[in-house]
């Protein structure tokens, strides 16, 4: 059974940390102010303002320490990652999750944070939140529906999303735990202790900036690892800024996915608003959902 951390209430403390790539502190200001305006106490971790001059938001030791402290502090009810990038793979095996397992809290983010979602789901069966991060609050995002979905999810409002139908959808209904995230990371985690099992679950995928052939190759990796054959449903999010080789791959990203899952019969919905662009609804990883892919609409309901 999945453990669902306590939902947040005004007055609770949210820790903000940057476990992967460097984030300019100014880019997180709107997020911090918005969380405070919602009534939360915000602990700004050292990696959010790290003076790092390289790719990462701090050394492995500094990023690990910041994350570890947030996981261990009983006053912290949620950990919101500032941004993704790359870096969690370097520290994931050094994190001590024992205090977190005893005292679960919401871990929030996406992209590289897929490593945390997958690792926690695979090893601790605690629900996490795949959702917009600090950057999404900028440029008016704080007032938009995607940041609103983050707030609703962490405050415990039951999720029901309705989205448009896509002509390639495969109709049907599926019920199961929701798992997934960034395809590149899910592929990268295959064969490691952070790899998720997907049997009977609803899988969601998104990615950014990948070559089409590489998306195909990563999907084959999931398929060959048995991660696509017994799904309750598949949610295909945005695959933005896709690139192609000099010799064109000859298939669009949705064609690729459609072809790879054509031998199965679970429902598939395309163009779900989970992505690296603005469209990015909060999803509770590990929590049970019902996916209905119908003729007139698509719903995902907790």
């Amino acid at each position: 059974m999945i453990t669902i951390p306590a939902y947040l209430q005004p007055g609770d403390t949210i820790a903000m940390i940057c476990p992967s790539g460097y984030m300019e502190p100014a880019r997180a200001q709107t997020c911090i102010e918005t969380l405070r305006s919602w009534g939360y106490v915000v602990h700004v971790g050292k990696t959010m303002d790290s003076h790092s001059e390289n790719y990462f938001s701090g050394t492995d030791e500094q990023r690990l320490a910041d994350l570890q402290q947030a996981l261990d502090d009983p006053a912290v009810k949620a950990i919101l990652c500032g941004r993704g990038g790359y870096g969690l793979s370097r520290i994931i095996d050094a994190i001590d999750f024992s205090a977190f397992a005893r005292n679960p809290k919401w871990v929030i983010g996406f992209s590289d944070v897929t490593v945390l979602h997958a690792h926690i789901h695979a090893n601790y069966k605690v629900a996490t939140l795949h959702a917009p991060m600090a950057g999404a609050f900028n440029d008016g995002g704080a007032e938009g529906e995607f940041v609103a979905s983050l707030r609703q999810a962490m405050e415990g409002k039951k999720i029901k999303y309705t989205c448009n139908v896509h002509p390639m959808n495969r109709r049907g209904e599926g019920v199961g735990s929701l798992v997934g995230g960034n395809l590149s990371l899910l592929a990268h985690l295959c064969g490691t202790s952070s790899e998720i099992k997907t049997k009977g679950k609803i899988l969601f995928l998104e990615d950014v900036g990948e070559y089409l052939y590489n998306v195909d190759r990563m999907l084959y990796q999931l398929k060959r690892n048995g991660r696509l054959d017994h799904l309750a449903g598949l949610i295909v999010g945005g695959f933005t800024d896709m690139k192609d080789t000099t010799r064109p791959f000859g298939h669009s990203v949705y064609d690729i996915i459609y072809g790879i899952v054509s031998e199965y019969d679970y429902p598939v919905c395309f163009d779900f608003p989970v992505s690296h662009s603005r469209e990015n609804l909060a999803l509770k990883v590990g929590v049970g959902y019902k996916l209905k892919v119908g003729k007139g609409k698509v719903t995902l309901e907790e």
Partner: protein, 341 residues
């Protein structure tokens, strides 16, 4: 190789090394690989396209060269076929490769080029015919899928080398290193001793390793993780090369090696060519390939050599994949050589 000379040079070099650089004791002896018969004049080599497409014209330099070596060439049906970027449909590529694997008259199968696509057909390939008719499978890059799969599932030796698309159109104008790389395929196929002297690199980590040589394209190795083509590297010498990847991605792939248990039990690590994709502005990784590799292996003691002539480059020598090798890395010399029984 003059064995006596080799041993004496090893002892001399070894005297200056810390004691832990001696080869670690093997926990259990690896089962000997199935070694296909070496080729003799008149033997036949098949050419097929399990991944990307190539035209019949583009393989002509390879065909002529191989025939000049005294071998016959059988051109597969996928040569000249095209399906998107693939050398024919999945079904066509599967059938062509399968026919060649099962063909008793072929002594080797040369993949025409890499690209992408071997993973589409690998699970449809039946390797059982190889126990009756072992043969050399030749290629690299995307063909890493085949080499890994064959090593893992039937423990047959294969050849990691350049393919048809790298044979020079005009031998008289080809650079010596290019010619040497191509001729090393013949050397490997005919059972000649394989020795690869490598320039000393100050970043190398010294030591001596003995083990079966495995590896290939790093990104391809990552995408095989967890599948039934994934290789076990314990007690082996691992070589890796890659092209067109960002530094952060290379770092992440070395973490994949670490986290899938492919570094802990190594005897030695051989770093080939890495054509690195420049960082995007504002996303400078700030670490070199040396930093990435040395950081990842600092918990271990096996020898590491850089700039080995394998990869997407002109100096890409044929390696006998899945066969025992010895790697010697000292301050004065670096040598990889196959171990003759």
């Amino acid at each position: 190789m003059n064995r006596k000379h080799f041993l004496s040079s090893l002892l001399t070099a070894g005297a200056a090394l810390p004691a832990w650089n001696a080869p670690a004791l093997r926990v259990e002896a690896a089962p000997p690989p199935l070694i296909p018969a070496y080729l003799v004049a008149g033997d036949s080599i098949g050419i097929t396209c399990p991944a990307g497409y190539i035209t019949a014209k583009e393989i002509q330099p390879a065909v002529q060269q191989i025939e000049s070596w005294g071998f016959r060439v059988k051109i597969g049906e996928t040569v000249g076929k095209k399906d998107g970027s693939f050398g024919g449909t999945d079904a066509e590529r599967t059938a062509d490769l399968q026919n060649m694997l099962d063909d008793p008259s072929l002594k080797a199968i040369l993949c025409a080029r890499g690209g992408y696509g071997a993973v589409h057909i690998i699970d449809k390939i039946d390797l059982s015919g190889l126990s009756n008719y072992p043969k050399w499978v030749i290629g690299f890059s995307d063909i890493t899928v085949l080499l890994c799969h064959i090593h893992r599932n039937v423990n047959m030796a294969s050849i990691h080398s350049k393919m048809c698309n790298s044979f020079p159109d005009d031998w008289s104008k080809a650079e010596p290193v290019q010619v040497e790389s191509i001729l090393s395929i013949r050397q490997a196929l005919t059972g000649g001793a394989m020795q690869y002297p490598v320039a000393v690199n100050e970043k190398n980590r010294t030591g001596v390793a003995e083990g079966v040589l495995v590896g290939g394209n790093l990104k391809t190795l990552e995408t095989l993780s967890g599948t039934r083509s994934d290789i076990d590297t314990v007690g082996k010498i691992l070589f890796v090369e890659d092209t067109g990847e960002y530094l952060y991605s290379i770092d992440r792939m070395f973490w994949n090696l670490e986290r899938t248990g492919k570094l802990a039990g190594l005897q030695g690590l051989v770093i080939g060519g890495f054509k690195i994709k420049p960082d995007d502005p504002g996303d400078e990784f700030g670490r070199t390939l040396y930093d990435i590799v040395l950081d990842r292996v600092k918990a271990y003691r096996f020898p590491v050599c850089f700039d080995f002539p394998v990869g997407h480059q002109k100096n890409n020598y044929a390696l006998k994949y899945g066969m025992p090798h010895r790697l010697t890395v000292t301050a004065e010399k670096v040598m990889l050589e196959d171990q003759r029984s």
